[in-house]
C-alpha cells in the first residue's frame, strides 16, 4: 500500500498498516482507543514511546515522580534538560511524546495512584498497562481492572530478569490467581541490591506494548501465560498459569482488598531512592507559590514551577506537588518523613 492511497492522517502509520493482519482496520481501532499507563519510569517510558508512535488515540500517563540523573540509563523519553527544569515524569514524557506524534492525545497526570483515585483514573479505559514499581500498586490495578472488566498487562523487571502476564478479567487468571498474597516485606530484593540492565526493560516494555496492539485491535494471539526472561542467562520461557476454580479472592470472590483500603496520611518508602513519599488522600490542592513564600526563609535551596516545589532543608530535599503530596529525600524512615511533612508543609 502506498502512502498516497491512505486517507489523510493515516500516512504516518503506513508501515504498520502494510502489515496485513493489522491493516487500516487495526489502525482505526488504535486511534479510537483510550489507554491508561500507570507509571512512566523505565517500563512505562518505553511503553508510552511505542504506543504514541503506533497511534493510540488517547494515552493517559499517570506518574508520581520526577526525573533523576540515574534514570537516564534505562528510561526512554527523558534527557538532562528535563532534570534541570525539575519536571515531573508525566509532564516531561507528555512534552516529548507530543513532539513525536502531535495527532494523538497525551494526557499527563502527576499523581500517586491509590485507592482514592484509581477508579476515576481508569474509567472509560479500553486497557490498563503496568509501568509501576511496587506490589501494592499492581494489586490495586488488578482489583480495579477485575472489578470493572478492563484488560490489563502486568510487567516487572529486576536485574537481568523480566516477567509479564496479560490479564483478561473473567477469562484468564488474574494477578491474585497467580500470587494470592504479596511476599512478606524484606524477602524480595530491592532495586538497591539487584540493579537493572536497560535491555530487559525494553524487552518487557515492548512485550507489553505488543499485547496492547493485539488487545486494542482484537487481532493476533495474546501471551497465553506467564512469560519470564533472563537476558544474562539467555533464558526465555512462557509457562501456563493454573487457576483453581473458585479459589481466587479477587476474581472468584469479588473481594477487592486493595481498592477498599481506607486511611489517612500514607507513607511509602521509594525503592532504591533513599526517599519516602507522603500522600494525604483527599487533601485540598496546594498553592505552590504561597508555599514557596512560606518556606523561602528556611530553605537552603528552593526551586518551584507549576508542577512541583523543591526545598532543601536541614539536609533533606522536600519535593512537593500541587496535590499536597511530597517526596522526602534523605531518609527511609517513614515516621521521620511524616514529621518533616507536618513541620514544613502542614499536617
Amino acid at each position: 500500500m502506498n502512502e498516497e492511497r491512505l486517507e489523510p492522517g493515516l500516512e504516518r502509520y503506513a508501515r504498520q498498516i502494510l502489515f496485513s493482519e493489522f491493516g487500516v482496520e487495526g489502525q482505526r481501532a488504535l486511534l479510537g482507543a483510550r489507554v491508561v499507563l500507570v507509571g512512566v519510569g523505565a517500563l512505562g517510558s518505553h511503553i508510552a514511546d511505542s504506543l504514541v508512535r503506533a497511534g493510540v488515540g488517547h494515552l493517559v500517563l499517570a506518574d508520581r515522580d520526577y526525573i533523576e540523573l540515574n534514570n537516564l540509563q534505562r528510561q526512554a523519553l527523558y534527557d538532562e534538560d528535563d532534570i534541570a527544569q525539575g519536571l515531573p515524569k508525566a509532564e516531561a514524557a507528555a512534552r516529548k511524546l507530543r513532539r513525536i506524534n502531535s495527532t494523538v492525545t497525551v494526557e499527563p497526570r502527576v499523581m500517586d495512584v491509590n485507592y482514592s483515585n484509581v477508579e476515576a483514573l481508569v474509567q472509560g479505559a479500553d486497557l490498563v498497562l503496568d509501568g509501576t514499581d511496587n506490589f501494592e500498586a499492581r494489586y490495586l490495578l488488578n482489583d480495579v481492572c477485575v472489578k470493572h472488566g478492563i484488560p490489563w498487562v502486568y510487567g516487572g523487571v529486576l536485574g537481568s530478569y523480566g516477567i509479564t502476564m496479560t490479564i483478561l478479567p473473567g477469562r484468564t487468571p488474574c494477578l491474585r490467581c497467580l500470587f494470592p498474597e504479596m511476599p512478606p516485606p524484606g524477602t524480595t530484593p530491592t532495586c538497591d541490591v539487584a540493579g537493572i540492565l536497560g535491555p530487559v526493560v525494553k524487552i518487557i516494555g515492548a512485550l507489553e506494548a505488543a499485547e496492547a496492539l493485539k488487545l486494542l485491535t482484537g487481532r493476533g494471539r495474546l501471551n497465553p501465560g506467564l512469560t519470564t526472561i533472563d537476558i544474562w542467562q539467555y533464558h526465555l520461557e512462557t509457562v501456563p498459569v493454573a487457576r483453581v476454580e473458585g479459589a481466587c479472592p479477587t476474581c472468584a470472590g469479588r473481594r477487592f482488598d486493595f481498592l477498599e483500603a481506607t486511611g489517612g496520611t500514607k507513607t511509602t518508602t521509594l525503592c532504591g531512592r533513599n526517599a519516602v513519599q507522603v500522600v494525604v488522600p483527599g487533601a485540598p490542592h496546594l498553592d505552590l507559590g504561597e508555599l514557596a513564600g512560606r518556606l523561602r526563609p528556611v530553605c537552603t535551596e528552593l526551586l518551584y514551577n507549576e508542577f512541583l516545589l523543591r526545598c532543601t532543608v536541614e539536609g533533606y530535599e522536600l519535593t512537593v506537588f500541587p496535590d499536597a503530596r511530597a517526596i522526602i529525600k534523605g531518609t527511609q524512615d517513614e515516621a521521620l518523613a511524616k514529621t518533616l511533612y507536618a513541620r514544613f508543609i502542614g499536617s
Binding site: G39, G41, A42, L43, G44, D63, D65, N71, R74, K89, D130, G131, T132, D133, N134, F135, G155, G156, V157, L158, G159, S160, Y161, G162, I163, L178, F179, P180, E181, M182, P183, P184, T187, T188, P189, T190, C191, V193, A194, I196, V201, L226, T228, D230, Q233, H235, E237, V239, P240, V241, A242, V244, L270, C271, G272
Partner: protein, 93 residues
C-alpha cells in the same frame, strides 16, 4: 535422583549467585526443604509455616504448574527441571 532447579534473579542472591542448582529429591516439598537447608538465606521464601507452598511463589516442573499436579506432593523424577517463579516488584522508576 538429581533434579535441576532454575533459580530466578530475585532469589539468586540467597543462593550465592547461582542460576541453577542440582539436588536430590523425589518430591517438590522435599526439594524445597533441601534447598532451604543448603541455602539458609532462602528460609521462609519457598515454604509456608506448615511446609506447604507459599501463596507468593509458583513452582513449575518441566514447565507444568505443580498446582495442576499434586502441589507440594508432586513427584520428581531423574532429570526433571524445576522452575521457581516469585512475583517481581520492580518496574524501576
Amino acid at each position: 535422583m538429581p533434579v535441576t532447579v532454575r533459580i530466578p534473579v530475585p532469589l539468586r542472591q540467597a543462593v550465592e549467585g547461582l542460576s541453577e542448582v542440582t539436588l536430590e529429591a523425589t518430591q517438590v516439598s522435599a526439594l524445597l526443604q533441601a534447598l532451604e537447608e543448603r541455602f539458609p538465606a532462602l528460609a521462609g521464601r519457598l515454604r509456608d509455616g506448615s511446609g506447604g507452598l507459599p501463596r507468593f511463589l509458583r513452582v513449575y516442573v518441566n514447565g507444568q504448574d505443580v498446582q495442576l499436579v499434586r502441589g507440594a506432593e508432586t513427584p520428581l523424577a531423574d532429570g526433571d527441571v524445576v522452575s521457581l517463579l516469585p512475583p517481581l516488584a520492580g518496574g524501576y522508576t
